[in-house]
Symmetry: C2
Subunit: 370 residues, 2 copies
């Protein structure tokens, strides 16, 4: 692989996280497997019923609690280079009691946002005097701005999903079902360098009017518009996400009218991206154009979401989010119009740069007639 | 597909769950996307940052809260046949406030075990007077005993993963890496009827001594023992999980000695399964044989885990679990011995029947010399 995992998950990050834990007045940060743990340690562990947890106390040394039978996997991960003590627990031990004995009675503990309720409630009982807050209160501020190496990983993901889109037109034949096409796309997502398929939406004809349709047994017909929204996770851990619109032969005239508006709105929203501009103003840049053209009621979702180790993360490009953009923030710009009996969405991943923006998807954005 | 989804997810289940909510003295059960929601409604929704939640109050009607843009997906699911009100919320609305306004101030709310902390803490704030408990307190008792249709779905999954194991020996050639073999296995898991690859462990030589190794770039060598533990999820939602051990040519003599013990232990544990026997006694049936042969210290994990809509669920086959087995309980029986520089594990999914057990995996359990 071309991505340098050591540079992506630098050993210095844990110190920065410890500083953030102290600055936020937390007693401890508790991270179970998922994107937060991977961000801090590089350890790509699965979330399972047995507790694996990195504890970062405000005072004292961080440690990683792992089931004894996960020890080999933990030590094979970048965790072994961080100088973090690895504490194992056996099948009949209480892992939460072990954590509590080491951490004492913190006032506030932060839990990874995707920690299962199963563990949230056990930590509640293990630290009965502690207030639980989300890890994002300290980690979002770090994760939201991507380093140059992280942007490179997202760029690599963007190029990979662009290569998948380049293959799609050949598969869009009348008679082929969305499910059949989806299976080919899933295979291509893996074939083009992702290690995981995150989602495959092939929304043809009337299904295009449901933004989160996935695939169905509907067979494509001549004249169909097909919305293809696909993404996966690379070995680096970073995600791709890109939507393009295809048609089987000439699309309906009323479709062509709003697709032109959509194309313009997506372009304007991308062009509005630069440091200091708020997330919600990027949403407004797309929404104003769509509303002015009379399609406002059919743009029923936010304009975008942040992307990195998660397909959806901060910053959300939505009304009410006054977060000012800053260099390194990466997010989708994906307005849509869904009047039925068809719909459309155009999506690129965009990174805010020092003086503007860079698009990480470069497949043609105009309607592709297959 | 051969599985009858309507029979797997009967519309009558919601009434049984409502009864269980009342019997447990809960104010409301709150299920976000995941196996609990799928079990109750048949709706296979993805867990995302936007709240989708089935609320089952003790008094009043259940309702499904969905983001407006997921409405199409929700209505295309079996939810539409349950007579449950579907309540949508828009991008700038507070979904938790909508839930709270409808549910009032329950004393106890149960949350799906895999609900993200993100939502657990928002529900905590939306219902400040409520005690949060896990949904498993009411659902585990229902989910743990599989209906005949559920057993049939697990049997279909078992046969599918058996077909994958049948292909493995041809891929185990000296020089091939674990990762290359793993990629072929992943493709075959999908090719044999699964819709998702859950895990692929190809642990060759010394890696076989780490029970949860996945794959590495290690190339296979002559004389290697290879532990292959693989599983996926079928379209039905039900999971497969099966481990077999292969060797490239003749294995080391000391390996053959403990593999014979392991084979006997796995057989004895399966044979011990019948109604009324406790989960921990199945663990003991395997462990006693392994310990008596002098390998006890190298059997470092429990004997098994329940399986159904999750790869790992109740009942866990572990010391301390005195749950008596009952017909319809399905779980893995997978003792292992890991002395290094190699290791072994044999795993079948077993269902407790009216008078004994049925194995759902039937690939040869003896060492397969590739």
């Amino acid at each position: 692989m071309s991505t340098d995992l050591k540079a992506l998950y630098p050993a210095t990050r844990l110190a920065a996280v410890t500083d953030a834990v102290r600055a936020a007045g937390l007693g401890a940060l508790l991270l179970t497997p998922g994107p937060d743990l991977r961000y801090v340690t590089g350890y790509d562990a699965k979330q399972l019923e047995r507790l694996t947890c990195l504890a970062v106390p405000a005072t004292g040394e961080p440690f990683l609690l792992v089931p004894r039978l996960e020890l080999g996997a933990a030590l094979a991960s970048p965790v072994s280079t961080l100088g973090v003590e690895v504490v194992t627990w056996g099948e009949t031990e209480d892992a939460f009691a072990i954590a509590a004995a080491r951490l004492g009675a913190p006032d506030v503990v932060a839990l990874s946002d995707r920690m299962w309720a199963l563990n949230v409630l056990k930590f509640r009982d293990a630290f009965p005097a502690a207030t639980q807050v989300l890890a994002s209160t300290v980690l979002s501020g770090l994760r939201i701005r991507k380093s140059a190496v992280e942007v490179a990983a997202l760029r690599e993901a963007g190029a990979a999903i662009d290569r998948v889109h380049a293959k799609v037109p050949a598969w869009l034949k009348p008679g082929a079902t969305e499910r059949e096409i989806g299976a080919k796309i899933a295979e291509a997502i893996l074939g083009e360098g992702h290690v995981q398929v995150d989602f495959v939406i092939v929304a043809s004809g009337p299904n295009g009017a449901s933004p989160h349709h996935d695939v169905s047994d509907r067979a494509l017909e001549r004249g169909d518009v097909v919305v293809v929204d696909i993404g996966g996770t690379m070995e680096s851990g970073y995600c791709s996400d890109c939507t393009r619109v295809y048609s089987i032969g000439e699309p309906p005239a009323e479709f062509a009218a709003y697709f032109t508006v959509l194309r313009e709105a997506q372009e304007a929203a991308c062009a509005s991206v630069r440091p200091g501009v708020t997330a919600e103003s990027v949403d407004a840049a797309a929404r104003d154009i769509i509303a002015a053209a009379g399609y406002g009621e059919w743009f029923i979702h936010r304009t975008g979401h942040g992307i990195g180790l998660e397909s959806h993360e901060d910053p959300y490009i939505v009304a009410g989010n006054a977060t000012p953009l800053a260099p390194g923030m990466a997010f989708s710009v994906e307005p849509g119009i869904y009047p039925g009996p068809h719909g459309a969405r155009i999506e690129d991943i965009v990174v805010c740069t020092e003086d503007g923006y860079e698009r990480l998807n470069n497949a043609p954005r105009d309607l592709v007639i297959a």
